[in-house]
């Protein structure tokens, strides 16, 4: 995929032997069995592990931990420390060059990791989406069932957990890893091995969650509330391991982003010249680093409750399920802004390009992003308005939740004023950005109902809140995810995406997205509870309408998939270096971006939004490489 002058390559069979994906799979499976039988040695002999009684929880945990360790060893994550211990000089470069096989191995090139993320996240997004189709199949009828009740709950839980877990890295994974170093004029991320580790941890996590079906699934949804999680099937152990690994991946990804942006900016790239996308990534990364460890420790407690018989969340032993809910939402509410903020950043980054105007109110936009990031820490108990926890704090959480609409409104203002009096081009990425305004507006306005305690008593736990967060997360994150794909994939791969198919995808997705989720506000208001396999018979027409729309929404994703395969594998029309006329630095580089990005580090003298100001975009200096990193 890349036109790199690589050193003479070894034959294929030789490249397949070594630290790569195949070895990783073999060692992963081996590690899984070592952990499984090791646990049986620890716990005792009388375990009927394929029967239906007395499942050995410890074996599930140790098996998957062993599997992940084996997987990472097989990919070569221990090579560097071992080499250092034995006194060999370490090298990054060996992992950065080569053909397609580097996409299936530990690669420290941030651009390879970006593309790995794009396909990896896409795969799990697809699995999560298929689960959504199954949910809507079940809800075609109010009482008769397409799936057994337990299977339905597993499908609901898989959909939610997959989307909330993997899609946290939906924009930071592919696009921040690829473009943040370029945008700040660096050749790599601060911690390239950790960068690769975040990706492979996420893939291992996704595999763990998918294999929950072999352990009976899990009944808790994506929130995993205790004590339901304590009494659930062994499948919940997969959920716990999945989310803990995702949390680890998020923490490392966020840390890497923060350190990269803080320390590796090129000369002249002051804080007020930083692209707004980088600001968005930075504010998200701060949330990731602070929120994800809370999740990991919460899940560790849940795992101890299940294995070591502790009672963190069990009132009979002095624990409290409020503890779980509190800790989960301390993570969980920043988490939803981890999903939303990259969307804000993409919209603000793309609007100037397609309106041919500078970003309006740069400092205000930065303030908006940071304000959301800060306030998101003070709102989490609005998920618990009727739970009976801290009843006297509800007015405070009502206020803080509503306050967060002020910085969010600043994002709207800056975006709206950017397109105002501009020369707007309705390209595919721009259409997705404009759809963001509509979707997030509906999502935000329905959030006003949920933030108000009296209204929340009606809407909490109903399809109203479900429609609300699909408008904000699918409408806010997934639409901008696609905007970023149509905007940047030509730059990443060097091939153009078909515009007509892109427009068909957009209109189908936009129309059917709204036709799916708008009626759910009414359905929720009329009393349909979330995650329930039955619903009142009088709501069947609306539910059928929603299901049919959802299937068509799913079909619109197939248009996208066809476009991707067609454009990248068959049509193969080479992309121009700067198809959108952008002033951002990545579009001053050739497509795809060469290994090591720049021969010499560029010097910035302005922000990338100087449309109509008669200045030149940042120049990429040519010349001899400045040596390896």
């Amino acid at each position: 995929m890349s036109a790199v002058a690589a050193p003479p390559q070894r034959p294929l069979w030789r490249r397949l032997i070594g630290f790569n994906f195949i070895t990783a799979l073999i060692l992963g499976v081996a590690g899984w069995y070592v952990g499984w039988f090791g646990a049986h040695k620890i716990v005792g002999p009388s375990l009927d592990y394929f029967g239906d009684i007395d499942y050995n929880e410890l074996s599930v945990y140790l098996a998957y931990i062993g599997g992940v360790v084996g997987f990472l060893v097989g990919l070569g994550f221990l090579n560097y420390p071992v080499k250092r211990l034995l006194g060999y000089p370490p090298s990054l470069r060996e992992k950065e060059e080569g053909g397609w096989t580097r996409y299936f191995s530990l690669c420290t090139d941030h651009k390879v990791v970006g593309i790995q993320y794009l396909w990896g996240v896409g795969l799990f997004f697809f699995i999560g989406g298929l689960n959504a189709m199954l949910i809507r199949t079940e809800l075609l009828t109010p009482h008769s069932q397409a799936f057994p009740a337990g299977t339905y709950l597993t499908i609901v839980g898989m959909h939610g957990t997959m989307m909330m877990g993997v899609m946290t890295s939906g924009i930071l994974g592919p696009f921040a890893n690829y473009f943040v170093p370029i945008m700040i004029g660096a050749r790599r991320m601060a911690f390239p091995r950790i960068e690769a580790l975040t990706f492979w941890l996420l893939m291992a996590a996704g595999a763990i969650l998918t294999t929950t079906v072999f352990f009976g699934g899990f009944p808790t949804g994506w929130t995993g509330y205790a004590p339901l999680s304590t009494q659930a099937n062994p499948g919940i152990d997969n959920y716990i391991l999945f989310f803990a690994l995702v949390g680890l991946s998020m923490t490392l990804l966020g840390l890497n982003m923060i350190v990269t942006v803080l320390t590796m900016r090129a000369p002249g790239l002051t804080w007020t010249r930083l692209p707004i996308f980088v600001w968005g990534v930075l504010s998200t990364a701060v949330l990731m680093v602070l929120a994800a460890p809370v999740l990991i420790s919460t899940l560790a407690m849940a795992a101890l409750d299940r294995t070591a018989q502790t009672t963190f969340f069990n009132p009979s032993g002095g624990g409290s399920n409020y503890l779980y809910q509190n800790l989960f939402w301390v993570f969980g509410h920043p988490e939803v802004y981890i999903l939303a903020l990259p969307g804000f950043a993409i919209v603000l980054e793309l609007l100037p390009v397609f309106s041919r105007k500078p970003l309006w109110g740069y400092r205000l936009a930065v303030g908006g992003l940071l304000g959301v990031s800060l306030l998101s820490w003070f709102v989490w108990q609005h998920h618990l308005f009727v739970s009976g926890i801290n009843g006297d704090l509800r007015p405070f959480y009502m206020l803080s939740t509503e306050l967060i609409s002020i910085p969010t409104g600043l994002t709207f203002l800056c975006g709206m004023m950017t397109i105002w009096r501009g020369n707007i081009r309705f390209t595919v990425p721009m259409l997705f950005c404009l759809a963001w305004f509509f979707n997030f507006l509906i999502g935000g306005l329905s959030g006003v109902f949920l933030s108000d305690v009296p209204s929340d008593v009606t809407t909490h736990g109903s399809f109203f809140s479900m429609a609300h967060f699909h408008y904000t997360i699918m409408g806010g994150l997934i639409f901008t995810f696609f905007a970023a794909i149509y905007y940047w994939v030509p730059k990443m791969t060097g091939w153009e995406l078909n515009e007509l198919l892109g427009k068909i995808h957009f209109w189908a997705m936009f129309v059917f997205f709204n036709s799916t989720f708008a009626p759910l506000f009414a359905v929720g208001f009329l009393g349909q509870a979330r995650r329930a396999v039955t619903y009142p018979s009088n709501l069947q027409f609306l539910n059928d309408w929603v299901s049919v729309s959802a299937f068509l929404l799913g079909a619109s994703m197939l248009v996208f998939l066809f476009n991707l395969v067609w454009s990248l594998a068959f049509a193969r029309k080479p992309a121009e270096a700067n198809p959108w006329g952008s002033r951002s630095i990545e579009f001053q580089l050739p497509s795809p971006v060469p290994v090591h990005n720049f021969d010499r580090i560029p010097v910035f003298s302005s922000d990338p939004y100087g449309y109509g100001e008669g200045t030149q975009p940042v120049a990429v200096p040519a010349g001899a490489p400045a040596g390896r990193e």
């Binding site: 499942y55 050995n56 929880e57 009740a149 337990g150 339905y152 709950l153 009944p219 004590p227 304590t230 009494q231 659930a232 294995t307 069990n314 009132p315 009979s316 409020y322 309106s355 105007k357 500078p358 970003l359 618990l384 009727v386 739970s387 009976g388 007015p395 009502m398 206020l399 509503e402 306050l403 409104g409 203002l413 709206m416 004023m417 397109i419 105002w420 501009g422 020369n423 081009r425 404009l434 305004f437 006003v448 109902f449 933030s451 305690v453 209204s455 008593v457 009606t458 736990g461 208001f525 509870a529 979330r530 995650r531 329930a532 396999v533 039955t534 009142p536 006329g581 449309y611 109509g612």
Partner: protein
């Protein structure tokens, strides 16, 4: 949207676009908001089943009316902006005017959004503290309706997968029917024997989570006789989808009649109820400790 500095983007463009948008917005809002309030308002749930449900309906109506002008602004802005300012086919891609800032707009925007937010928070707090709005408030409620000390107490016990109800004023009698007297202030004491459930009496406008070991209080003032729906609103395991039931509000005579008979029935079967999860035989308490959850390994 106040007026913009006049930096012509296209030849001959000197119209005051900002003024047009503001005027169109004000006109549209002035038309749409009353229409929404009058025609959509009465359709908004949860309706009129209790004083608290009525309060929620009012809150929902206020919210709906309040978001209408915001929606109008976006419709007008994007309708006007996208039609007026997009590039025509084959038009050269020129840069627009380099507008980077306008402090008047910034200040206006922040002031208006802040005012809306503060109004919403104040309104919500007032509506909440007035009578508790039917929500679960925990063991020490702060939003107390008038006469709460003499409220009729009903305990709601959630367990996998049904709700049962205990009446402390009738000897801690337990029933799986929820019957309430009309025009009475009822204090629901919601608790659970196992996992987290949520007691949602839709037409009464009551929603309160049932937590093991916790007494979660929600107040509701019933109106006339009616049938209402009860369902679990928090995922509680396998048969969560089937955890629903009906309850009734009846007049005082019928209620006393029902309660006396239910109490007699309860006393006659109490001795036979010995399932560990069933507190039917246990003395009344505001919460019960669940059985420890056992896991293997």
């Amino acid at each position: 949207m106040a007026s913009q500095p006049a930096a012509a983007t296209r030849p001959g463009d000197s119209t005051n676009h900002g003024l047009r948008v503001v005027v169109a917005w004000l006109v549209l809002s002035a038309i749409a908001t009353p229409l929404v309030a009058i025609y959509v308002g009465p359709l908004i749930p949860p309706g009129n089943g209790s004083v608290q449900a009525q309060g929620q309906t009012f809150s929902n109506q206020v919210m709906t009316s309040l978001v209408t002008p915001v929606l109008c602004l976006m419709v007008v802005f994007f309708g006007y902006g996208l039609i007026k300012f997009h590039l025509r086919r084959n038009e050269a891609v020129l840069d627009g005017p380099p507008l980077r800032n306008d402090s008047l707009i910034q200040v206006l925007w922040i002031v208006i959004t802040s005012a809306m937010v503060l109004f919403l928070a104040g309104f919500g707090t007032y509506e909440l503290l007035k009578d508790g709005a039917g929500g679960g408030q925990g063991p020490n409620p702060i939003a107390l309706p008038a006469g709460h000390k003499t409220a009729f107490q009903v305990q709601v016990i959630g367990q996998q997968w049904q709700f049962t109800y205990r009446y402390p004023s009738f000897g801690g009698m337990e029933s799986n029917q929820l019957v309430l007297p009309e025009h009475t202030l009822v204090a629901f004491h919601v608790t659970s024997l196992d996992v987290v459930h949520s007691f949602w009496a839709y037409e009464l406008g009551v929603k309160a989570d049932a937590n093991p070991g916790v007494d979660n209080v929600a107040y509701v003032t019933t109106k006339g006789p009616m049938v209402f729906h009860v369902r679990c609103a928090e995922l509680c395991g396998l048969w969560h989808g089937y955890m629903f039931n009906n309850g009734v509000v009846v007049n005082h005579g019928a209620f006393t009649h029902w309660a006396t008979r239910a109490l007699a029935l309860y006393h006659s079967i109490k001795g036979y109820v010995n399932r560990p999860a069933d507190k039917g035989g246990a003395p009344f308490a505001y919460s019960y400790l669940p059985e420890p959850t056992r896991r293997a390994g």
